[in-house]
Subunit: 365 residues, 2 copies
């Protein structure tokens, strides 16, 4: 059996707790003889800063580059609010994305039927919701330069961030969206602010041109990012795949995930390009939720988003879609049994902690 | 009686229809001897482009500069999708904002009790909702340079937009937010992405410093813009005044307005600095909704957002808060009578068109 190189980066806050549940699942997968892993682990975020003064070490980056997949918990917390900009916890995540060229961030926003009542939206608007936001992850205002604060004297400073997109960056993310739409409902909505931003204009043009290069079986619409924000709230089920830039994707995917009432349930995948020789692609899997400092260390966090991230890894990185499906069904079964962590708890359900939830999934798996 | 210089810029689509209702109200206000207006009118957006090849003429800009207040309808539509970037309809609005230095955009998101059921959110989450988004309107990525597309050869282009903020720009908008909070519930939430953007870092620092300069009676919180997008959907009533930059304000205020179920009801004000000599400030009032090309010309548009924008003008520009209050009550009374345009119609209510709705408000005024 080929070994599969897996790097675990629990990070900060509840990242540590939810990844612990995944570790038990990995052991079970090996024990069942499904896959064998070569598992490594390292620090990232505030934890790395506390130990080494940086948000991720070069040694950890080397492990990340060698890994077939990375399972990432979460980073950040008020403890590191005063840390220098370049060493802040998020810098570790951003370096991973950038150095591994993980340009395609897939963020499903699924409303688990058992949780439809936990949504802020009326049940009929979200019940059965299943959309994916394809967010560009290595370009835009996150990485463009100049990115600086200049002292102008007289108590005045000037801060600059630069949004940059080149044709190839837009083209490759558009292709990911079109290809994903093909195995779904076949519809892509591209969002930008072409009425205000030149990068929005180029985005619109390149997505349109890419669509004509062999993707015309997919239905393509364009929507301004602000209007899309509105439509997400008004009638989210109108969407299938949404493709957008790094910053709009950040906000819109957070809005979308909250709509589902299932934030603590949502995984994400950040993928690189396929290697022409090996067919492999670099990949990092992480829950959509953050490090939740307010509940960290209390055993209250919902581990399902992290477990569902493992399911995505089984599917996209380890060629085991059928095992991923079993895991997804185990999650659904546990919900059907009425088990709920605090974030998704509603009247009449059984409130459980992180490890109880992990236990339950393990048992159904 | 002093005359008050008012410039009407109906613009495109339903902008023309909703401003027509306001024109009748202005006549009534004069007839009642409340105020006397010197009313001028001009083209903006696609209408100006069709007539003059630009989104706003210098002559119209001169009128705008001379006016005490501008009532603006809406601009844009698919008809002008192919127009050159600098002449696109939105350029007219952006030039007005920039050249008149209308840096403070106040966007109330109010849920009219009569309309709480029209919201996508559960009634209890939005009933009684009353928040204001204070959006910075003359800086950020909207106006920074470079803003350009460069041809790199080989079919590759590179698009750049630049987000720039200087200390004084952040300070003055923070003050607007703090002062507004004082006459409301006394709470301000400032949103940025300091974990990714240097402008977010400066924003955070300057808002914090401004708070210490005599605004400590106001409660200040900071929230990342993506987290704020989530919280707006999860529990919007936790907010009072939200202050944020131009681009985040664009998206977050659209999300907030849609939450209310009252999008066709929401006015906005864009204000400049107070003139030290006259105490006057430049001001433009416009509905939050757009030009709605799909229903334009059919007499279906909801004129209430435009009428409520007039109420804001009466309050902020013409020193008649009591008349503004009468007008706001007239709007509420019409809703209580069950009159609804299509956008806010629900079962059992009386469906009316633009001019019927205008008639009804006129009668109650
Ligand atoms: C932690 C932060 C840098 C990150 C981002 O802004 O991309 C997060 O919000 C996300 O969406 O993954
Ligand atoms: C029309 C457009 C340029 C404008 C903006 O992006 O500011 C609009 O969306 C708004 O919010 O007023």
């Amino acid at each position: 059996m080929a070994t599969n190189k897996l790097l675990l980066l629990p990070g900060d806050g509840i990242g540590v707790e939810v990844l612990a549940e995944v570790r038990r699942l990995l052991a079970l997968i090996e024990q069942k003889g499904i896959l064998s892993f070569e598992i490594d682990e390292d620090l990232v975020g505030g934890a790395a800063y506390d130990a080494h003064g940086v948000a991720i070490t070069d040694a950890a980056m080397a492990k990340a580059k060698a890994a077939d997949a990375i399972l990432f918990g979460a980073v950040g917390g008020p403890k590191w609010d005063g840390v220098a900009y370049d060493a802040r916890p998020e810098a570790g995540l951003l370096r991973l994305r950038k150095d591994l060229e993980l340009f395609a961030n897939l963020r499903p926003a699924i409303c688990y039927p058992a949780l439809a009542d936990a949504s802020a939206l009326k049940r009929e608007l979200v019940d059965g919701l299943d959309i994916v936001i394809v967010r560009e992850l290595t370009g835009g205002v996150y990485f463009g330069s100049p990115k600086e604060i200049t002292d102008l004297g007289n108590g005045q400073k000037r801060a600059v961030d630069t949004q940059v997109y080149e044709t190839y960056e837009i083209e490759r993310i558009a292709k990911v969206a079109f290809e994903l739409a093909r195995v779904r409902s076949g519809r892509v909505t591209s969002a930008e602010k072409r009425n205000v931003m030149k990068s929005g204009l180029l985005w619109n043009q390149v997505v349109t041109a890419t669509h004509k290069q062999g993707y015309e079986d997919v239905k393509l619409d364009h929507m301004l990012a602000d209007a899309l924000g509105m439509q997400l709230v008004r009638a989210p089920k109108q969407f299938d795949v949404i493709v957008t830039d790094n910053l709009f994707g950040d906000i819109l995917s957070d809005v979308a995930s909250m709509l589902t009432g299932s934030l603590g349930m949502l995984p994400s995948a950040s993928l690189g390009a396929e290697d022409a020789a090996t067919g492999k692609r670099k990949a990092l899997y992480e829950p959509v939720h953050g490090s939740a400092p307010d509940i960290a260390g209390k055993g209250l966090a919902n581990p399902i988003a992290m477990i569902a991230s493992l399911a995505m890894a089984l599917k996209y990185s380890f060629g085991k879609p059928e095992v991923a499906a079993v895991l997804d069904r185990a999650i659904a079964a546990v919900l059907d049994d009425g088990l709920r962590t605090g974030d998704i708890w509603t009247d009449g359900m059984t409130r459980v902690g992180t490890s109880e939830m992990g236990d339950a999934v393990l048992k159904k798996f």
